[in-house]
């Protein structure tokens, strides 16, 4: 006869306000098999847990049911409590009385009755539970970092400094990400490249970091501690071992007039080349789509002139397989393209710039060597209007969220413009100015007070070109909504930060979540901000949501700490919720008939073939066997098995059906 203990938690008012917990405990006491039942204000507190421990010993409990919050919150807590009192942790189950009862109901009487039903169901279930032992798995001590921007670089450096090997994969030809494109950084106005390039060099020369630039993650299999990654090394058409980065090829390349991605289309580049002078590695890539040699077979100048014979037009993409134990995703963001905002000069006016384009214009390494000249005619603009929230905080036409970094970078842009064009007028149109951050509000005040930037509380309704200028239509909302039409020479949009275009494909490859906007999802918005819901995969930087540099770096270090924590253990423990093919005494051996429908359906390739042989080695039958390391406990095989030969430990048919039957009583 089972001796079940039932512990009903009030969760303060969370459950107690809607559910009569004392009545639930009283009802539980009447259930067959229940030896003890009690209600308590906070069962997760130390005295609450002591109550469970004491009851296990005093009443010799064979199972525990805690009526409390979702098992996602405290199942681990209570199972540990039980284990510390000598009860197998898998004999403890949670009855979810908060998320599935008190929070979603208002009527106390009905909620209490439902709570009693839930408890009765879980009590029936726990009587069928069997003791289980956690699965131990080995750990591959090696990390993969996806994305070579500042977040990826920082995560890779921290993990490598911690003593673990890192593979850093970047899809563009160089490390650096968006930070390499920025001119100066707020709130200190130090040059972005000057602080970034030492980190890039450090990452490239670190003995424990292996760079894979111009490469993309193709496929990911496996699980925490044991991921198997396939990386596609795209054909650079340049032999990295032979190339010395001398630059002869890109100086001589005749295809010189291609718009530079790195300069956001404001500058030109050659068909072979490095994206920017400080690129790491300092070795070129041929853009095959625009190279004359690849288009019509002529040219070949780079190959003829290369002093080391490094140009290889026949290079192919290479697929390399790697084993890693943890993955840091640092795939970054992009800015909202102009054409998404047709109200602003139809989204294609050359003198309406995205925030990132202005960074290139203001950058010493940019297309104008840092001089502010407008793209259409190269003149220094005398009036520049900066439009904040271009696409952000706009449910109708853009994104509902605040892009967070724009208030600060707009203040910086306006300041840089005033420093570079003396006598120029800088007007910022903003809904409000958000400057939470160390030294941030001081920086914004400096823009207003020292640099004379004019802030108007307004939102640009429409921008259009007229007689070589841009007319910005707005209303001054602090002055009775007076209509203002500003004639500007250039407009800079505080373009919304948006997720990478292919983030969903990436997330699906990795098996991690993303939100409606496309930002990658953390496991808990407050308490697990760098973990994903997939064990062993962590997030760093703006792929999780708009972030400035200090925040991206901080999150990258946090992700690195999480990865190092994982590597610190000699082996990992996993919940033993895995499928099992039954075994019977000979001559049956198993009810499995060896149809292997399960093998075809298993998404994790966890079903193996087992051959049962007699003592002479003759084959008796083939049956399915579950690889406990690979199985993720999804239960697909269980539902497909024709003669119910597979069951899921922790969720056996018997356990689940007894819970259901109890509900239907």
């Amino acid at each position: 006869m089972s001796r079940i203990g039932v512990f009903i938690c009030h969760c303060g008012e969370n459950i107690g306000k809607t559910v009569d917990c004392a009545r639930v405990a009283e009802a539980a006491r009447q259930l067959p098999g229940v030896a003890y039942a009690v209600d308590y204000r906070y069962t997760c507190s130390e005295p609450g847990q002591a109550q469970i421990r004491n009851a296990i010993q005093e009443h010799k409990l064979t199972g525990v049911v805690v009526g409390a919050c979702s098992p996602r919150m405290h199942e681990k807590t209570f199972r540990k409590t039980c284990a510390s009192a000598g009860l197998n942790p898998y004999l403890c189950e949670i009855a979810n009385l908060r998320e599935q009862c008190s929070w979603v109901h208002a009527d106390r009487e009905q909620a209490t009755r439902k709570a009693i039903d839930i408890v009765r169901s879980i009590v029936a279930r726990v009587q069928r539970n069997t003791p289980l032992a956690p699965i131990r798995v080995p750990v591959t001590r090696r990390a993969l970092v996806i994305g070579g921007g500042i977040a990826g670089i920082q995560a890779a450096l921290d993990i490598a400094d911690g003593g673990t090997e890192v593979i850093l994969v970047e899809r563009s030809p160089s490390l650096g990400g968006h930070m390499a494109q920025l001119s100066e950084t707020f709130p200190t106005l130090d040059c972005s490249q000057c602080i970034l390039t030492p980190r890039m060099v450090e990452a490239a020369s670190h003995p424990r970091i292996r760079l894979e630039t111009y490469s993309e993650v193709e496929k990911i299999e496996g699980y925490v501690g044991n991921f198997e990654v396939t990386i596609r090394r795209k054909a650079r058409s340049v032999d990295l071992k032979k190339c010395t980065g001398c630059g002869t090829c890109w100086q001589k390349c005749p295809q010189k007039k291609l718009p530079s991605d790195f300069d956001e289309g404001l500058g030109l580049r050659t068909a072979i080349g490095i994206p920017f002078p400080q690129a790491v590695p300092n070795k070129p890539v041929i853009d095959r789509a625009s190279c004359i040699k690849f288009k019509n077979g002529r040219c070949g100048a780079c190959q003829k002139l290369c002093p080391t014979g490094a140009i290889d037009y026949n290079q192919q993409d290479e697929l390399i397989a790697e084993k890693v134990g943890a993955i840091v995703v640092a795939t970054g963001f992009q800015v909202l393209p102009k054409d998404q905002l047709p109200a602003y000069a139809d989204g294609d006016h050359p003198d309406v710039l995205t925030g990132l384009q202005f960074e290139r214009l203001a950058s010493a390494s940019g297309p104008t060597a840092g001089e502010i000249r407008r793209p259409s005619d190269g003149k220094a603009p005398q009036t520049v209007v900066f439009v904040q929230c271009a696409g952000s905080r706009d449910r109708e036409k853009g994104r509902a969220y605040c892009s967070k970094i724009c208030c600060m970078y707009t203040a910086k842009h306006a300041m840089l413009y005033r420093h570079k064009v003396h006598g120029g007028r800088a007007i910022v149109l903003c809904m409000d100015v958000r400057t939470p951050g160390k030294g941030y509000d001081e920086f914004y005040r400096r823009a207003v007070e020292q640099d004379g930037v004019i802030y108007l509380r307004s939102r640009a309704a429409r921008i259009y070109g007229e007689d070589g200028q841009l007319i910005v239509q707005a209303a001054d909302t602090l002055n009775g909504g007076e209509r203002i039409d500003i004639k500007a020479d250039m407009v800079v949009l505080a373009s919304a930060a948006v997720p990478q275009a292919d983030v969903r494909t990436m997330a699906q490859k990795l098996g991690i979540g993303y939100d409606a906007d496309g930002w990658l999802s953390e496991a808990h918005p407050k308490l697990r901000p760098v973990e994903t819901n997939t064990a062993g995969i962590f997030l760093a930087g703006a792929c999780q949501g708009p972030k400035d540099i200090p925040e991206s770096v901080a999150q990258a270090s946090a992700a690195a700490a999480k990865a190092l924590g994982l590597f610190a253990a000699s082996e990992l423990q996993r919940d033993p919720v895995v499928a099992r093919v039954n075994r019977q005494p000979p001559p049956l051996f198993s009810t499995c008939i060896g149809c292997f429908t399960c093998a075809a359906a298993c998404p994790y390739k966890a079903i193996e073939r087992e051959e049962i042989r007699d003592r002479q080695g003759a084959l008796i039958k083939q049956v399915a066997r579950v690889n406990r390391s690979l199985c993720q406990g999804c239960g697909t095989c269980v539902s497909l098995c024709r003669n119910k030969s597979i069951d899921l430990d922790g969720f056996t048919d018997e356990e689940v059906f007894s819970a259901l039957e109890a509900l239907l009583e």
């Binding site: 047709p342 989204g347 109708e396 036409k397 429409r462 259009y464 007229e466």
Partner: protein
């Protein structure tokens, strides 16, 4: 001959009669019978929707119900305001159960589909239209003027690029004209202030005119009687010399002209700003 429900609304029965005439002529050429909804009522555009949301919806819903009784599944509403009111009613009936519950005839009414002239010409009859073009617009430079309501609001019209719509441009191109790139295509003409604050209407109109002129347009193309009257009627008051004034032509008139219909049939002689010079000779 296919049949399409037709809701002329008040304007097309009076001040915009040339819109009505040209539309009927074009439909006839395209083999579409416009069947006027029996006993249609006001769409609720003017005062009603500003005063009583529900009453305004009921007016439009009443017309939809009459269309259904007449066995018409689609209702062509050429006036941009009428279209917007009918489309709003259909949208509200679908998404706002409270409104639907208040109307006796509501169930299923949301399936009666209001159609704009732009949508009809662009999606419904485009192929037929292509084969009927006998007098292409010969590089006529056209400022396509949508005004405020033809494509807005996006959740009701289903047109996403409301700031930079291109449907009218596509049609004008099909007719052989050259749409100009200009900045005021979806600007408000000031219609609501036509009586109460004429200065606003004149200022708006002048800005729209200036932008079209700068872009090199020969004519305006419109699909809304309010836009039409504000631009056609008041160019003199805006201080524009007679010689510099731009003709304001309904989309259906341009279409009919490209199909070779006579100016009188299309009501092109009814405008304040003469259209003859811009469109050229009737027989060529």
């Amino acid at each position: 001959m296919s049949v399409l429900g037709y809701y002329p609304g008040c304007s097309l029965s009076s001040s915009a009669s040339e819109y009505d005439r040209s539309l009927r002529a074009v439909a006839g050429q395209l083999g579409v019978e416009l069947r006027e909804i029996p006993d249609w009522v006001c769409c609720g555009a003017t005062s009603a929707h500003a005063i009583d949301h529900e009453a305004a919806l009921c007016l439009a819903a009443d017309t939809l119900a009459k269309a259904r009784r007449a066995g018409l599944a689609e209702v062509l509403a050429p006036c941009a305001m009428c279209y917007q009111r009918l489309a709003t009613a259909a949208h509200e009936l679908k998404h706002n159960p409270g409104i639907a519950a208040a109307l006796d005839e509501a169930p299923g009414l949301e399936n009666i589909k209001p159609v704009s002239v732009l949508g009809w010409l662009n999606h419904g009859v485009t192929d037929a239209l292509k084969s009927k073009i006998t007098r292409p617009l010969a590089s006529l430079k056209v400022a396509c003027y949508y005004g405020c309501l033809l494509v807005r609001p996006p959740k009701i019209t289903g047109i996403q690029q409301v700031e930079n719509p291109q449907q009218m441009e596509q049609l004008v191109t099909l007719l052989g004209g050259q749409p100009v790139r200009w900045s005021m295509a979806t600007e408000c003409c000031g219609a609501s202030f036509a009586l109460s604050q004429k200065s606003t209407v004149l200022r708006q109109g002048r800005r729209i005119y200036d932008a079209a002129r700068r872009a090199g347009a020969d004519v305006f193309c419109v699909a809304c009687p309010m836009c039409h009257s504000n631009l056609d009627l008041r160019q003199g008051e805006m201080g524009i010399a007679a010689k510099a004034q731009l003709p304001v032509i309904y989309l259906t008139q341009l279409t009919g002209w490209a199909m070779g219909l006579a100016a009188a049939v299309l009501g092109l002689d009814k405008h304040f700003v003469p259209t003859a010079n811009a469109l050229g000779k009737e027989k060529n």
